[in-house]
Amino acid sequence: MRREITLQNNTQELPRLVALIEALERDWAIPPEVAYALQLALEEVVVNAMHYAYPSGERGEITVRIERQEESICCTVEDAGIPFDPTRTPAANIDLEAEERAIGGLGIHLARAVMDQMSYCRQEGRNQLKLIKKTIRE
């Protein structure tokens, strides 16, 4: 089972992604905690692509594919923007006190934290970020 959605690089498109994940939670009987992880990780990486993949003012597309596998959900987020590998961003320091914290910079950290695997490749001029969430607890 597989579903795909293409979004413009505008955060007003985000509700379409939210609605798709809600529909899949129902149609594919995805456990609520897995659906929550998908909502969170996909919002973070898709909004990151909406903000930074394309030069300011330039329109572009972000495609999200979600595939139900036997024991996991595999998501692929693709754009044709500036090469960017989120898996190489430095880990956020979550031990800092409030006054030492920068405002922001937690999105990729959260996506990494809630998913089981995250991998990146650049293929045919496109960023491809793959995120996997197991649906069965070991």
Binding site: T11, Q12, L14, P15, V18, E33, Y36, Q39, L40, E43, E44, V47, A92, I94, D95, L96, E97, A98, E99, R101, I103, G104, L106, G107, H109, L110, A113, V114
Partner: protein, 94 residues
């Protein structure tokens, strides 16, 4: 929003995400009370955009000698606060 001179309760519900966080930010910027309770009992989802608003408000208020308390945080939102270390640096109440 319920407000008295020194204490104000702001209720947030549903999703606190990229598109809704600016609305909460605007409300919190307008509050002048020295003690703000953010009622999270109906908040089902928070992403980094919501965390950004909460941290910015916490820092601003702390700088003014004021306090922000998150009340009634649900487990799914609490897990996001835990993952980011926010549950340690913010004031949380049952």
């Amino acid at each position: 929003m319920q407000s008295s001179e020194n204490r104000c309760v702001v209720r947030t519900a549903g999703r606190l995400d990229t598109n809704t966080a600016p609305d909460l930010e605007q409300v919190l910027q307008e509050v002048t009370a020295s003690e703000v309770i953010l009622d999270c009992s109906a908040l089902e989802y928070v992403s980094s955009a919501g965390l950004r608003v909460i941290l910015a408000t916490h820092k601003r208020m702390a700088g003014e000698g004021k306090t922000l308390t998150l009340q009634g945080v649900r487990p799914e939102v609490r897990s996001v606060l835990d993952m980011t270390g926010f549950s340690r640096i913010l004031h949380l109440a049952e």
